[in-house]
């Protein structure tokens, strides 16, 4: 299945960088003030939005995290789509807005803002040092294991061996790929296409040069678009050993180590092929029922049943057979002519 686990704060790495320098911190503060002023000027008081979200007689457990405790206070500002600032170092826009609807559907929907952002955000304006909160998915999940947060230790170990950890040119962590305010794992039994699309979107959002008709570095790969839509990037870009069908490996491989061997999928019973094939067929059966799966299963992989040797022998025998049949027929024709001539 696709990436199930993740944690808070997508904007943190950039925010960290900003906070390290006082000037950048000041810029954050100035912008926050500015953005607060915008709705006031335009007539839409931020408090209105917060009021609209206040729960009507629900108990604390039922109240979504974003409406609980002092989260409505946070959302007075952070609901705004334009809540952002430009980071001085990277010159990139750092988005600080939270989409309430998306958050409510995310895997972390039960968490109130300050369940994760515990330090220094109680008061407004926030201190510049507050942004240096150093949130850690693995630690947080370990602490909240009793609440059902999945253990991320294995994923963390895999990540440390990945090309993202070893060779990335800029700081790379969970948040580089997973936005905890929006993240939601793909459900079991989701259509295969949806699983593939969701998983690959994570990669393609950064690796934009791969989302083209002739993807960079994949020039050797025939029909890249069809591959992107049918198999997950991680099928070839993670080690074959120790795979878990339902928890994708985070030990992503760089180009030199990745599978470039077509026959790993398109022939023989390699581990890669068996897993992919079974996974797809099982997903489909769960989703469509037995007969529909039998009829419409698209788990077939072109050339999967190929064996060059058997094909060569088969073609040779068929060719010989056809030639033999033609020769035999010609012999019969000669015999027939001879018989007619003798009459």
């Amino acid at each position: 299945m696709s990436n199930r686990y993740s944690c808070p704060d997508p904007s943190r790495p950039a925010a960290d960088a900003a906070i390290r320098r006082p000037a950048a911190g000041l810029a954050v503060f100035a912008l926050l003030v500015l953005w607060l002023a915008v709705p006031a000027v335009s007539g839409a008081a931020p408090g209105d939005a917060a009021k609209a979200l206040e729960p009507a007689g629900e108990t604390a457990e039922e109240v979504p995290g974003i409406e609980r405790d002092d989260s409505p206070e946070c959302m007075r500002c952070h609901w705004m789509e334009t809540m952002a600032y430009r980071d001085r170092d990277t010159r990139k826009i750092v988005d600080l807005s939270i989409d309430r609807d998306v958050y409510r559907h995310s895997v972390h929907a039960d968490l109130a803002c300050r369940d994760c952002h515990a330090r220094g955000y109680k008061h407004y304006p926030h201190r510049t040092s507050s942004a240096d909160e150093a949130l850690h998915c693995v630690g947080c999940h370990a602490e909240r294991g009793d609440d059902g947060a999945p253990d991320l230790t294995d994923i963390s170990l895999e990540f440390q061996e990945s090309v993202h950890a070893i060779e990335a040119s800029r700081p790379f962590d969970c948040f580089s790929c997973h936005n905890p305010h929006t993240f939601r794992p793909v459900e079991d039994g989701a259509p295969v296409e949806a699983v593939v699309a969701t998983t690959n979107r994570l990669c393609l959002d950064c690796h934009t040069k791969l989302d083209t008709p002739v993807p960079k570095g994949h020039e050797w790969l025939p029909k890249p678009r069809e591959h992107w839509a049918s198999v997950r990037c991680i099928e070839c870009h993670t080690p074959v050993e120790g795979r878990d069908m339902y928890q994708p490996s985070h030990a992503l491989l760089g180009a030199p180590e990745s599978n470039r061997n077509c026959v790993e999928c398109h022939t023989q019973g390699s581990e890669l092929l068996s897993q992919l094939y079974n996974y797809r067929a099982a997903e489909q059966r769960e989703q469509e029922g037995f007969f529909a799966q039998a009829l419409y299963n698209d788990a077939y992989i072109v050339g999967m049943s190929r064996s060059p040797l058997i094909d060569r022998i088969g073609l040779a025998l068929a060719a010989l057979m056809v030639l033999g049949v033609i020769a035999h027929g010609f012999g019969r024709y000669l015999a027939y002519r001879k018989q007619r001539a003798s009459r």
Partner: protein
């Protein structure tokens, strides 16, 4: 002139339907196997092949039941005592006799409509290869329920290779089958029999009577 009604309606209907289903399976299978999008687009070939495979299963079961109920199954019983000599005579006819206008060693009758070579190949095809082909096809469809490996080899690979080898063997059979039906008394004698049900042959002792019904 001898006239024998050898192929009742159900048998002819089954034969031609089965031929159609088999050809559909063959063409879609080849298209998928060799990735021949121009022959049949992949998205079409997959469901059509799956459907024809399922119908082929039904067809095979119908053949078995039909043979059992109608008594047609007797033609597929092998007479072990006379088999070696019959096979020798039949083979000698095809590789030599047929070219020198020798008389056919076998004559069709109500009791025996198939010569020894035919009996052997049809028993091989319908009672061995075809059920194995069908089983391997279903193993593909139900692959998630199979163990991932058997004796350390990927199950899917075993299934795929079995399906592939059987498909090739049945293609070879089809080539020979289509040709051999032309070796009757005339080129069309046997084809006509499978179309009309009647096997017609000149004279009680024809000089070069072919007879085999394909």
């Amino acid at each position: 002139m001898t006239e024998l009604y050898l192929y009742p309606v159900w048998l002819r209907a089954w034969h031609w339907l089965n031929a159609l289903i088999f050809l559909v399976s063959l063409v879609t299978g080849i298209s998928m196997h060799f990735s021949l999008g121009w022959l049949i687009p992949f998205e079409v070939a997959v469901p059509v092949h799956n459907a024809s495979g399922i119908v082929l299963t039904v067809s095979w079961v119908a053949f078995i039941i039909g043979n059992w109920v109608s008594g047609n199954g007797k033609h597929y019983l092998i007479n072990l005592r006379s088999l070696p000599m019959d096979l020798f005579r039949q083979t000698r006819y095809y590789v030599y006799g047929i070219f020198v206008n020798a008389p056919h060693p076998f004559h069709v009758s109500e009791e025996h409509k198939l010569n020894a070579l035919q009996t052997m190949s049809y028993v091989g095809v319908m009672y061995v290869l075809m059920p194995l082909l069908i089983l391997s096809g279903w193993a593909f469809l139900l692959s998630p329920s199979l163990p991932e490996t058997v004796l350390g080899i990927g199950t899917i690979w075993i299934v795929a290779m079995t399906h592939l080898v059987l498909s090739w063997m049945l293609l070879l059979f089809l080539i020979v089958h289509v040709y051999i039906i032309t070796t009757g008394e005339t080129v069309m004698t046997n084809m006509r029999a499978m179309l009309t049900g009647w096997h017609r042959e000149r004279g009680p002792q024809p000089e070069r009577a072919g007879d085999d019904a394909g």
